[in-house]
């Protein structure tokens, strides 16, 4: 079934962004000597997001860099503890790894837990988990823009699984994103996904509907506002998407529909047969490296 876009989709998100804009960012970086090495400086980063939730991140800088350097935002998987993005820094990028609300280090004010986060307030778009969660990832761009060493014209975003879905929504909502690489995108085609697969995390929704069958329409209404597929037409930057054709977590069918709906003319899909939720990661990582090197470092293939 094609993902239906609500008529007031843009108006809803415009309203959310207005609310978020009224909250001061209050960025803060704290050096972490334990994680800092000769080649990479590591910081605990913090900023404030919508609903005044304080969000944590890891920020890594190449020890040797130009006065202004390109930056990458790394967005986490559903269950992943956000990693320290040293490897991106070693490749020459300023790198920010975000822990949206509910993640470890960002759970003091909001903590529905895992499993549960996917269905927390899922009958109400105004308080659904991902309203704030999405804004947290979009505000990560503001944190980068607050840093004098970041070249604002060379910001990329990447992640896989939930990180892939968040890459889609961030590239759609922040025009500062100049290149995006999304893997095995989650949060795309929610209602199809729960029919196509019976694995967690999507299975959380089936659990919820089994216990609350009367809420199905409300759930469908809510997730339509958060479905990455409905954000895709806003994406204008170069983007690559990789999917595994045997993906047991994020069905490849939903990834294909998402890709078809992406607005950018500069887009490419990498389907990997014989691969599950890894979406061909080992083969695809060099593709991602070349993609960002071209668009952010200005290196030719």
């Amino acid at each position: 079934m094609p993902v239906r876009k609500p008529d007031d989709f843009d108006a809803f998100w415009d309203g959310v962004l207005r609310q978020a804009a009224s909250v001061p960012l209050e960025p803060e970086l704290i050096p972490d000597p334990l994680r800092t090495s000769e080649d990479v400086e590591v910081f605990h980063a913090f900023y404030t997001s919508i609903d005044h939730v304080r969000v944590a991140a890891w920020y890594c800088r190449p020890a040797r860099r130009a006065e202004r350097a390109p930056a990458i935002v790394f967005l986490p998987g559903y269950q992943m503890d956000p990693p320290i993005p040293k490897e991106w820094a070693r490749k020459g990028y300023l790198a920010l790894s975000v822990a949206p609300r509910g993640k470890l280090r960002s759970m003091r004010q909001f903590n529905p837990g895992y499993p549960n986060l996917l269905t927390h307030n899922i009958v109400d778009r105004h308080s659904y988990t991902y309203r704030g969660f999405y804004v947290d990832t979009w505000r990560a761009i503001d944190l980068l823009l607050s840093r004098p060493e970041v070249d604002a014209t060379r910001i990329g975003v990447t992640g896989s699984s939930q990180g892939g879905g968040l890459t889609i929504t961030t590239a759609a909502m922040r025009r500062e994103v100049r290149a995006a690489a999304a893997g095995a995108p989650y949060l795309c085609g929610y209602m199809d996904a729960i029919e196509l697969t019976h694995t967690y995390p999507y299975e959380e929704i089936n659990d919820y509907l089994r216990l609350h069958p009367e809420s199905r329409r409300a759930v469908e209404t809510t997730v339509a506002y958060f479905d990455g597929t409905n954000f895709a037409d806003r994406i204008a930057c170069p983007i690559i998407v990789n999917i595994g054709l045997q993906d047991n977590v994020c069905p490849p069918e939903t990834g294909r529909e998402l890709f078809d709906r992406i607005g950018s003319k500069d887009k490419q899909l990498y389907p990997y047969d014989g691969h599950g939720h890894d979406a061909g990661r080992v083969k695809h990582n060099p593709v991602i490296d070349r993609f960002f090197a071209k668009h952010l470092l200005g290196q030719s293939a």
Partner: protein
């Protein structure tokens, strides 16, 4: 295996035994299905420390084979691992445990990731993994008290903790283990800059004077020392050929393990690797129609 190694773990198990598990088992209707009931379980471990786990019992008479998902190296506790078909719960009892520090067992101690691997590592007595290993043993002890369980078909699955638990608790008939933390740790950390082993490098960098003490602690956790006590039939999930923990690198572990060992080298595909492990467990447990409990895209 040195005498101090045996003494250390014997004393740990004796200390654990002084605390009754005192389980509380509550039905969780949200995660229960027509084919399996899910329970939240609270139980006590060494410390004392109260733990949490998810226990799933298939509908029907049983006895059933069981999979014990030993604590992972992450903050999140899963009911069954992400990507596993929920119908797995129709054929196996499953039990997943949050050790101290993980979500649902993060009070009073909340672990950091990264960070847990070096917490208290200066001394075997203070190392946080002494408690975590005890937690994992306690989890297997609890699982095997369930009357629905077939004691001849108990799989422990996980990372290094799966092997360690099987060695110490003796109640596993099968092990599926993916070594990641405690095999030649200090030596292999030097060959990588990836977490979690990078935690060791970070620690050595900031505290070079403590390196000898850290190596001493890690000796109590090296899988090679536990292997002679692992009599369960074991599937070792190795890294891809040429990687730090590939089949060749695990040779010493294989040689030291008491029970039969199959080594599977990763094909760098979560589909191929996952399918192999699911089929292996099913064949070992006498489940002939494994296809019915695989994820849809793997059938």
């Amino acid at each position: 295996m040195t005498a101090t190694f045996r003494t250390y773990w014997q004393e740990t198990l004796e200390e654990l035994a002084r605390y009754p598990a005192s389980p509380e088992v509550d039905v969780l209707p949200l995660r229960s299905t027509p084919f399996a009931t899910l329970y939240g379980v609270r139980l006590t471990s060494l410390g004392p420390y109260r733990l949490f786990g998810y226990l799933s019992i298939p509908a029907g008479a049983g006895p059933f084979p069981a999979i014990y998902y030993a604590p992972k190296y992450q903050s999140v506790l899963e009911i069954i691992p992400q990507g596993t078909a929920n119908p797995q719960r129709s054929r196996y009892i499953t039990f997943s445990l949050a050790s101290r520090g993980q979500r649902n067992a993060d009070s009073p101690y909340a672990a950091m990731f990264p960070g847990l691997l070096t917490d208290g590592i200066d001394s075997p007595a203070s190392y946080v993994f002494r408690g975590i290993v005890a937690d994992s043993v306690r989890g297997l002890e609890f699982l095997t008290t369930r009357r629905e369980l077939d004691p001849a078909r108990v799989v422990v699955a996980g990372n290094d903790l799966a092997l360690i638990t099987a060695a110490l608790a003796k109640r596993a008939t099968h092990v599926v283990a993916t070594p990641a933390l405690f095999y030649k740790t200090a030596e292999l950390a030097l060959k990588t800059s990836a977490y979690p082993l990078e935690e060791i490098n970070d620690y050595f960098r900031l505290h070079p004077a403590r390196a000898a003490a850290v190596r001493d602690t890690l000796a109590y956790y090296d899988l090679r020392a536990f292997a002679p006590d692992v009599s369960a039939t074991t599937l070792l999930m190795a890294g891809a050929r040429g990687s730090t923990l590939d089949g060749a690198a695990l040779g010493e572990l294989v040689a030291a393990t008491k029970g039969a060992v199959t080594v599977y080298e990763s094909e760098q595909s979560s589909y191929k690797d996952g399918l192999y492990a699911e089929q292996w467990m099913a064949s070992q447990c006498g489940i002939t129609d494994v296809r019915s409990i695989l994820p849809e895209h793997w059938r």
